[in-house]
């Protein structure tokens, strides 16, 4: 189970251009940052109204990261 795969799976289900979904995981010792890039017109889709979609993805990511005892943060790159 990879946090990168989780974010990629969720993002691809939300955007119009799944081929432009690019996810990179920058791993540190105790935490890692998952960077998500999507095409400009899809940005609103992964962020959502009042940031709710991004918040939901972050909550779900926190579950996955607790399971492997490593903190993970989602960074949506604009």
């Amino acid at each position: 189970m990879q946090m990168k795969d989780l974010i990629e799976f969720m993002a691809k289900a939300l955007v119009d251009n799944p081929d432009n979904v690019d996810v990179r995981e920058i791993e540190g010792e105790q935490s890692s940052v998952v960077e998500l890039r999507v095409s400009k017109e899809d940005l609103g889709k992964v962020i959502g109204k009042q940031g709710k979609t991004a918040r939901a993805m972050r909550t779900i990511l926190s579950a996955a990261s607790t399971k492997i005892r490593k903190r993970a943060m989602l960074d949506i790159i604009e």
Partner: protein
Amino acid sequence: MSDDVRIESWLEDFVGKLLEHAGFDLWVEELAIGSDENELRLELGGPDAARAIGRDGQMLDALQYLVTAAAAHAGMSGRRILLDIEGYRKRREDRVREQAERAATEALERGEPFDLEPMSPRERRLVHLTVAGIEGIVTESHGEGDERYVRLLPKSK
């Protein structure tokens, strides 16, 4: 394939994959039409039920929000999707209904407005529906965002 069958198989597949990716040992136990035909209920269960519900149902709400957004994107807007885990929402709904009934009695006896705690849109809807069946009480929603709550008002005679 009928639309319903298509929607249901898409949902079951998507939710299953999401749970697997998120590392939840949990699966779809039942998929059924809800209280009206626009509502699809997915009942999940498994060893990770408590974790997947989260504190005050936060994780469950996040999962539901994401599934709803993905479903809308997959072309099934107009259907309300309700995720539940081992009856958590069902129990919560029963509690909200009881709270609404108690608050209505209180408001009627005192002849004063009664404010309920802040609730989700779905739970507020449930309060409005419950109280609609009680003579002499009307409901209003007040507050913004997560602080929005229902006020019960005795009708002035």
